[in-house]
Symmetry: C2
Subunit: 463 residues, 2 copies
Amino acid sequence: MKEQNKIPYKIYLEENEMPKQYYNVRADMKKKPAPLLNPGTLEPMTAEELSGVFCEELVKQELDDTTAYFDIPEEVQDFYKMYRPSPLVRAYCLEEKLQTPAKIYYKFEGNNTSGSHKLNSAITQAYYAKKQGLRGVTTETGAGQWGTALSMACAYLGLDCDVYMVKVSYEQKPFRREVMRTYGANVTPSPSDTTEVGKKILAEHPGTTGSLGCAISEAVEAATSREGYRYVLGSVLSQVLLHQSVIGLEAKTAMDKYGIKPDVIIGCAGGGSNLGGLISPFMGEKLRGEQDYQFIAVEPASCPSLTRGKYVYDFCDTGMVCPLAKMYTLGSGFIPSANHAGGLRYHGMSSIVSELYDQGLIEARSVEQTEVFKAAEEFARVEGILPAPESSHAIKVAIDEALKCKETGEEKTILFGLTGTGYFDLKAYENYNNGTMGDYIPTDEELQKGLAGVPNFPGNEIK
Amino acid sequence: MKEQNKIPYKIYLEENEMPKQYYNVRADMKKKPAPLLNPGTLEPMTAEELSGVFCEELVKQELDDTTAYFDIPEEVQDFYKMYRPSPLVRAYCLEEKLQTPAKIYYKFEGNNTSGSHKLNSAITQAYYAKKQGLRGVTTETGAGQWGTALSMACAYLGLDCDVYMVKVSYEQKPFRREVMRTYGANVTPSPSDTTEVGKKILAEHPGTTGSLGCAISEAVEAATSREGYRYVLGSVLSQVLLHQSVIGLEAKTAMDKYGIKPDVIIGCAGGGSNLGGLISPFMGEKLRGEQDYQFIAVEPASCPSLTRGKYVYDFCDTGMVCPLAKMYTLGSGFIPSANHAGGLRYHGMSSIVSELYDQGLIEARSVEQTEVFKAAEEFARVEGILPAPESSHAIKVAIDEALKCKETGEEKTILFGLTGTGYFDLKAYENYNNGTMGDYIPTDEELQKGLAGVPNFPGNEIK
């Protein structure tokens, strides 16, 4: 075991050191992320328009790009205390295994039943729904982490929770479904005949196994067609990144306590919720010119929105019922190859992350999944934790960076986000163990096909 | 949210407060647990005899009933730092839900990839195997928690790990199997044709789906028939309870820090490893007359070794290759009804727990599984954590005790062991959610049939 320099394996903050406010990185961005547009008028969405879909307080948070801090409601702080602070872990064993001079840290968000960081925003969104006097919320889920998180939050607050689960996951991941049911959620395989948009999709594509974009459309309809319901979303939106800033704030407080400055900060990126949350307070320092950091977003080569997508306004869902968002996108019709395991399969990227990336403040790398699972296994064997496939994208690049340090002799400090655990992804691990996992990189032609669905209006041309 | 009296939701010890020694409760027992016997000679097993099966250092620990403290090897302390200290949680939300004046605490051992407390002993046993220069270890696993724990420990230390997994679990719990494979273990469904005892059982019972006792026999043979291997066991043995004392020691240190004295300490009991580990330091105080506590062992009504078994010498395994142990037993041929979900299915009970129970120092209760799952769901919805079915036995009785306090107005402090998470038990939760879970209490006749297999020699008669 390596000399420890008094840094413990795991740094837990005391409860009174936990963040009491979320940090809104948009406040420190000179060039702000582009606003959501009404797809009919192409005008920025107003609070009034959005409040038919989202809770009022969340609409305020969504539209506010100047207020730097938002109070975390006390009830949410109490809920956080059940599973937070999450540990900031010094990866001594991984460093030893890699024989690297780099110092590796990870913020581990998997120590809760939803198995990921998603719970951080689920409770806040459910809390504001409850406060508004609503009966319940609707949402979609793919792999099931978000749906589980929301079910947990709603069970705690006594809210109805209707989850539209992508049909292929509903059938292939019965265990995630049962966790949600144990927390009292209604779980419907999507597309379903419970919504008009679902019926339409079923009529047009009989036998379809569904997609995230299609489940979003159903969940939005289920929220807007009934009294007392609103729709909530687990990623992409600016409000979600705001809530997820709790990850970065805790990490930064823990590092500050021990005088540690990260040189490189790495996160996996699907919709951008974890990455955006983890980097927010560090990015704030960078934007204010106080400190420099290198930020790396890691995405799957099979769903490469940052590295191969276009930065334009696009639909957020298949049914095109949601506002338009400006983001790095592969087109709302893009569906990753069936070979793709785990999450990080959304066609677009959070507008905050997209704008930061466009300004060159974040780098992006795409990685293939067999090398991701190789990194996952290596990590699991020395650090103990079986990581989620999503999180393992960050592990892969953290290992790459640590090995570069080994070559150059640099003693860089690396921080990455370990968003969750892989207990519900063992089918993918089984494929990897059996050597039957493949890689797939979409061709330029396939990407063009997806991008053809991007709405065409002046200023939004695909170049 | 209830007034908090400055007790945080979760108490984490600092790394330097973690135990550096295990506590051996036998040292403080005036009447010691009965020794293991050689089934051939009926004489106490010698260190020499045992060292063909177990590692030398572990044999010393197994036989030593007078040394109160054993150093935890530094390498094991380092490994513990990856997932320990485990939190001592104040169940504020459960108290609020129950509207009880009782104060409820639980020591949560599920925050590691094995999903349970089993890792605490797996690493120590693997460490001594490594230190002895062995190539690897063999073991059996039922539901898979112990096999996963041992695989993790062996991956970390670079030891071979051969796991005999009860065939029905191997087939019905492919995910547990894949976790073990990800950690590099060889997993063989038991009974198998890789051992003589396995071949014999297969010939006599073609098509059998296996049992824990049968997998133990195979694992012992696989260890003793090759150079460089030893057998390790996840419960029942006194060495395992010694290692698991880390649970109780941490819990006691955390409680002492805040001046909390538990009145009632509750643990689920299968082989006794968690219960024995949790209660050890508290029982030490009781045995030394320093402090009184109420201890409650909770077992399934479908496998009621303490409440309906006999306290005699019995075989530890089906193949009868292991030493005889004096314990509360249902007979080595007893197999719980197919309807029984989860672990806690071993026919016997740790000789330490058995002796303490026989002396009236521990109470025992048996509970039926539908009420256990009801308690599990209630707990999950307010405390967030999805508990393992095993742990939920303790939850059930903790809730019962808290509701008694509500009736009487007593402000008792209740501590229970939350041994693990239920992420791999969702088939059972599904049955519960669908209302298809049943209960089964074995008849007296069935129990007599099991007990008929107990060896008959002078002083060992079933009364």
